[in-house]
């Protein structure tokens, strides 16, 4: 995958953390993800369509999800409830949306976020490499995983996720 798709995410992650989360963070070196199995139990998934298609996954632990949700909302969130999943979806939305503005083409769209909790795997678009961007925060590590491709003709793509544990489990 071209670096032109990864650099916008680095900038967007920084922007979201600096502007709305105000949680200390260090972005690590992006690397190719070998297995499509998320490392942590919470995933916020955004599909992209248009000139650029694919998906973006914000993957993090329950503990960090609670911490970031609390930081975004401004009130302490202690349970992995609807408030928490909504906040994680919004963080994923802002990261993907912020990166999208620097992509080639003007017809790129993002989906509303889906949140998966528990042991799960993500069905990335077939044949696309998945680049994982690690980010160490003061409350743990997360990964932003990106699988994108440029299309000569716009169409719709995205990711489907399957979970083996119900939301909240």
């Amino acid at each position: 995958m071209d670096v032109k798709y990864i650099n916008p995410f680095l900038e967007s992650i920084r922007n979201v953390f600096d502007t709305m989360l105000q949680v200390a963070f260090i972005i690590g070196k992006p690397s190719l993800k070998e297995e499509p199995v998320p490392r942590y139990e919470v995933s916020g998934i955004i599909g992209l369509s248009g000139h650029i298609t694919g998906c973006v996954v914000l993957n993090l632990s329950e503990e960090l999800a609670l911490h970031l949700a609390s930081a975004l909302i401004g009130d302490e969130v202690t349970e992995l409830n609807e408030d928490c999943t909504d906040a994680i979806g919004e963080i994923a939305n802002m990261i993907a949306g912020g990166a999208k503005k620097d992509f080639p083409g003007e017809d790129n769209s993002i989906s509303v976020p889906s949140i998966i909790i528990g042991k799960h795997h993500v069905s990335y678009p077939r044949g696309l490499p998945v680049i994982s961007i690690p980010c160490d925060t003061s409350a743990g590590r997360l990964a932003v995983e990106v699988a994108l491709q440029e299309n000569p003709v716009p169409n719709t793509a995205g990711a489907a996720a399957e979970n083996s544990t119900e939301s909240g489990g």
């Binding site: 922007n15 979201v16 502007t19 709305m20 949700a69 975004l72 909302i73 401004g74 609807e82 408030d83 909504d86 906040a87 979806g89 919004e90 939305n93 802002m94 993907a96 949306g97 912020g98 999208k100 503005k101 003007e106 769209s109 993002i110 989906s111 509303v112």
Partner: protein, 125 residues
């Protein structure tokens, strides 16, 4: 002052409400998508200000904005969205948005944008 907030994210609506809580006499109505927002305009309007997200299920914020303007409703509208590309901003302004704020934003940026929008709306033409 009656204000309509339309965003599918409850988190975002709560963030907006914290900022709007600093405005004296703010009376807030919430909607989760453009369709609900449009219904709220009919049932609880007229509003003095609307904040609209763009990407929402059922009906997006741009479609809602167009439908509101088709009804000749001139309530000031601020689009608050992750859609940051210049053509999108132009599209929203052409559709009748009075102002535009890209997520993520600081509370101060939202507050300033609201003040600026209301001031412009109140100014004589």
């Amino acid at each position: 002052m009656k204000i309509l907030l339309v965003d599918d994210s409850r988190t975002m609506r709560n963030i907006w409400k914290k900022v709007l809580g600093k405005i004296d006499g703010a009376e807030i109505t919430e909607a989760e998508d453009g369709a609900q927002g449009l219904a709220a305009v009919g049932e609880h309007g007229p509003f003095d200000l609307m904040l609209l997200d763009w990407n929402m299920p059922n009906m997006d914020g741009l479609t809602m904005l167009k439908k509101v303007r088709e009804k000749n409703i001139t309530t000031p509208v601020i689009m608050v969205t992750t859609e940051a590309e210049k053509p999108r901003v132009i599209e929203a302004i052409k559709a009748g948005a009075n102002n535009y704020l890209v997520k993520p934003f600081t509370p101060d940026a939202l507050h300033d944008k609201i003040e600026e929008t209301l001031k412009k709306a109140a100014a004589p033409a």
